[in-house]
Assembly symmetry: D3
Homo-oligomer: 291 residues x 6
């Protein structure tokens, strides 16, 4: 059945955000606690819940055609897949995940090279081994099932490689970040065979376009106002230059209707200036997508 795309939804910390994003993009994905196969209102898609750690492997094998997972796990598995695009889920609240090298606060380690012969605990064993091997630093890397911070606090290992967004958990455990090893964002992956299939590639690109349109609309709004034709140049200059404003004549009048897309932060700056320039009837309305 060539006209169905097998798509992997990342189970776990990205799960709800992914479903939410698809909803904004126009797809209803319904996850039931009793099934690993979420429903979706698109006959051309079949969804599966897959751990981010395994997404790369199954996309590489072509078991699924495409999916979303953190770039960290794609690299950990050295999966041979097509990275279609990045998905920076939220400009406002979510920062990229950082994998950092961490030691106890009283450690003398200043850089990776000081860990010669040390034991390092991490969930990202493959990446960590390669990182140190590339730098010719012999280390003993152990797989950690979680609670990794506790291990260095308690002397069970010399250092850890752990993921963090703000570093606050690490500080709260009295540990110190030596340096960043990798930054990771969610990515949309495709298998090489799906990418080579025209129908599947078009479907994947459709999904990518709409997901990115929804992400692009985050924190963005539409601003609409009436302006005297005589002031239209000055007003246009004040508006953000990202996209040209849409300007149209008003009926039986020499006023113009001006409409522009901008971020909420730009609204804070722009509104006082527009008022000074004589704009009237300014309204702000929400957007779903910017394509």
């Amino acid at each position: 059945m060539s006209n169905v795309l097998n798509f992997g939804i990342p189970k776990g910390s990205l799960e709800n955000a992914t479903v939410e994003l698809f909803k904004k993009a126009g797809w209803q994905i319904s996850i039931s606690s009793r099934s690993y196969f979420p429903g979706v209102d698109d006959n051309e898609m079949h969804c599966k819940l897959i751990r981010p750690q395994e997404m790369g492997k199954y996309v590489e094998r072509g078991t699924i055609d495409a999916g979303i997972a953190g770039r960290d796990w794609v690299r950990e598995n050295e999966a041979d897949v097509v990275e279609v695009c990045e998905m920076v889920y939220s400009k406002v609240s979510r920062r990229p995940a950082r994998w950092v090298l961490v030691v106890g606060s009283d450690s003398t380690v200043q850089g990776p090279e000081d860990l010669h012969g040390a034991t390092i605990s991490t969930e990202l064993v493959g990446f960590t081994k390669r990182y140190f091997a590339e730098r010719n630093i012999p280390v003993n890397v152990e797989f950690s099932w979680g609670a990794t911070e506790a291990k260095v606090v308690d002397g069970l290992c010399d250092a850890i490689v752990e993921v963090t967004e703000t570093g606050s958990t690490i500080k709260a455990n009295g540990l110190r970040i030596v340096c960043d090893l990798m930054e990771s964002v969610p990515v949309l992956l495709a298998s090489t065979s799906a990418w080579a299939d025209p129908w599947k590639r078009e479907k994947i690109e459709q999904i990518a376009t709409l997901l990115k349109s929804s992400l692009a609309a985050e924190g963005m709004v539409g601003l609409k106002m009436n302006a005297p034709a005589s002031r239209i140049e000055a007003i246009t200059k004040v508006l953000p230059s990202l996209k040209n404003p849409t300007i149209s004549h008003l009926y039986n009048s020499d006023w113009l209707s001006v409409e522009s897309i901008m971020s909420e932060k730009e609204v804070r700056r722009v509104v006082p200036e527009l008022l000074k320039l004589g704009a009237e009837g300014i309204i702000e309305y929400p957007l779903n997508k910017i394509i």
Copy 2:
């Protein structure tokens, strides 16, 4: 006081959805756990919470002028009322309720005619009696206070007539649906006397119009774009033909502004085509009502 409409809000499973729908339609209904008389910000309405099972009776008597209830209970009570319109509360998540004839999975019953002389448990005694009487099948219909599925599982009766949306609870109890007896959606009812009163009828029609406008906007969005005048015909063809797009000139330009209403599903299909046809500055914005 002829300028007040007594309106029945269905207590129970439709209650929150009804309040939510009125909110989208522009009425704030506030339900207090201590009172059966919800407040409403419209001096021309007076609301009461009424069980769906009793809505038909009270509308028929004119005790209330209009109300919302499932069509199943209106038919059960053979209420002599005006059905103003259907209210399909949500195209996305809610399916019509189906009243089905159900037997144990090891029963040999294949149709209603096989239930000659049987005992049937149901909350919908009147409808069920009439259904079998019309087919000249003598049965013993017993009123069930709930937990109706359990009765057929346990041999307390031979079959049940029960309501379901997806059939999953019935399957989970190891039962089998013999056939559908009735499909039911919420309906807006009016008493014959209110319908004959010009002021009340106009008020009921106002409510009906705005409730339906809100329902019509579910899953629908506005799509706005700029298009070169030369491509306007091709672009117009791609857009759904439900409503004509609104097209206007842009200021000092031979581009046009095009605006169209469509469902989120159509957006998924339309956007890639619009991009190919040269549309620019495409944005999607949410809608409250489509009238």
Copy 3:
């Protein structure tokens, strides 16, 4: 550092509503349970959580430049500050707070003058003392740490001065409101020194403009329709006169596009009339701000 505005967020009952309002206005304020210094995505602001009771004092001293608090507490403290504007947080759900004089339901007190020599419990000691002193009525005013209603029920005092929105708690405790002493709404305060500093004043006015724009959009929507040019006058008359509608030509047609801003309540009234006048393609869309 003159280009930072120290701003006081009112801790307690107004806290969430204030954060929500700033969010609508375009500022992300993030409150952590572990810190009294909320983050804000504006380098020109520094926020602090401050009790409404103390807001006036700290603004008066210039410790903070501006803040939001109930007018009651500003008056209680007789703070010498600039009241920039009122913030009626929600036209729909929140009424102004009223400070009322309350006695037991079997009391013979009919007005403040009947309380000669009485003991009055209240959280608003200063205001209450001044209120009775201005009327030459000698009373004994005691500070109450809360649960003030209980004190008059139980005979611990003769009357109380307490805040209420609807009076229902007072009635539920079997008490009687003698009269209103003060009505209070949240206000945006500025220190006299910040108001004299051009940069700070402009910043405070920017905040005030955007907060008020968000409040103004509550319960308001945009209505857009197509209308035959011949009916445009009649249609325009039906629309609320608050703001002129925006009217523009449609492409290759003698129809016009009409767009107007109104409250959801007006929509209820207007839509049936517009339909009668031949308007078509009517849609309603949400608004974020009306400036």
Copy 4:
């Protein structure tokens, strides 16, 4: 299979209390939200969840051998069953349910006889009809699906017959209780055939004994102390006379150990007196059952 007792657990308001009581009595009943057949750790029992309204009917028919339900519904259905014993679930928190005759607070009705020709709404149609028929008062009794209070408030009927524990909901709705019609407690029912079967009767009596033992221990405790032999008579007199205290010699001593069962309220009274009489080492310990 004669050695299994089919037992009905009342679904609804008594459900959790019944499971809790069986647990105290030594039976683990596990109710799953997906099944109407609770599990029980006793091979001699088979449980079913049954609405109290239908319990009498199914016990009467012998479909189930025994069960627990309110006496009100047993009487409503005029079920021909054996009432084994009352189950006063909690001396502390639960009062008997009262079915009361209720009218609007401005009604002139003073007794049932004033309702000649009136319409009465109730869930207990059979009982209400018989009640008025026995007194030769012609009334029209209508079945109410719930929210019965609202009907009399709103003039949909003249009076209601409704269940209450404290009367507070009735007062909160501004209604007035005319008189009590029936008091109801949960009862343990048996079918006449099960009661005639020696094995089933013994099983039912075992259950009754242990449930009653658990109920009897509510609010009861054991008090143990050492007492000089010389004071034993005085001390014994102070103890509640419900059961004789257990007294035994202490080793190598002329002191006695005294142990007695009493309610927590009696402990409050008894302890100060025991201390005055020279009792020492007084401890209080909890009880599970008093048989």
Copy 5:
């Protein structure tokens, strides 16, 4: 009515613990969210909810006869009352509250004497003024409505006097404790007039005895075992000497039954030793009260 004791339950942080303690002591106190007058199953008591800050004042005036509140607020108000006994609510989880003098972590203040001329924020204004006045240190004490830590962080004052149990909130805010000023535990207060009334005093002492008995039983258990008469001395020595064990003869045997009260911690130590000494059938059972 001399045979009723008016008793104050402390509203707020001690409220639930107080109700729980009375429950263990044999009194059911039921607090309704709608009333300030909790019910109690003792005709000789009448309860009121009173803020701890005001408890001393109302007990001093005799408005209530007795009550429970923190000693800190009794001292703050310099209330002239009888302190009947301390109530150390929980040996396990609750430590005494400490009022401490706190400064910023970079402050140079080492003792109260370094605060000459400083501004101090606190809820405990009276106590703090007296504390510094007794030491002849002039300071400016301001009442704080809460969020007191924030004030010293932010430079709104030089130091604070704040309550803490473990000091962790203070550390989390980056502050430093200079020294402890007062330790506070809940106390049972009586008015001088109630204490002089024989009936009221006896009632208060009854309450005190039973509350203390319940507190004494926290973390305590009963241990019961059988022991050969020949080893009874060695076994007795191992048992805690707080109370003599209760020893009695067994029937037709030269074994003895030994029963002793001890803490759960002592059980951990004692059990291995008892097993070595030949004790058999050791069981541990829970206690409600130790009087």
Copy 6:
């Protein structure tokens, strides 16, 4: 510091049950969400939260002296440790975990031998490899990060080895259990060096004794009654023979006090017989520990 025992608490599904069990055994372990080092009220212990998967490794190395983990993970890691005793956490609600071989319901596999050359997904890679190697069945075992059931449903592998208690999740996913591979219960582990250290061994045995005593008391109660000396033999025969009853003389009487320990299920059986034999004043009381 030889007088401290490093003890591993299993993080995850056994965590709460372990803390609860220690509480019954007399140790208060307090877990904070911010720390991996739970507090404990015993100076001779130091606790750490450790994943069950890693417990064996750290006990083997002696990093911790003892800990609790499922036997499955100890075997997976082939950890060289001392298994002190089993901890069957709850006779009532918790069954041993079973690791089972699972295939799709339409698979033809009937036993492990039918999986020649197959791909098997599991979290227990080491154990599974050894299991098939011992039987000379070549298979490809892949580590699964979770959601293992989904893999066989979806054809990502041929079979899985997964843990289950009741098999219901497996059935709900439409899968079939081929056979059981291992049953696992929690065990108390000690390192060989700690077991060789007399102080540590005694400490571990103290913990084992008290934990087992608490487990032994689950579902067990004490039954106490008075019996005429003449019936003592008959009554003794009815009582469970697990432990001899404790019998003592009553004061000035030829009745005896009889006390026995039994399960709640035995109480159900015994009580009716005791009543027939003339026992009186029967009470049942709860137990904390049976040693």
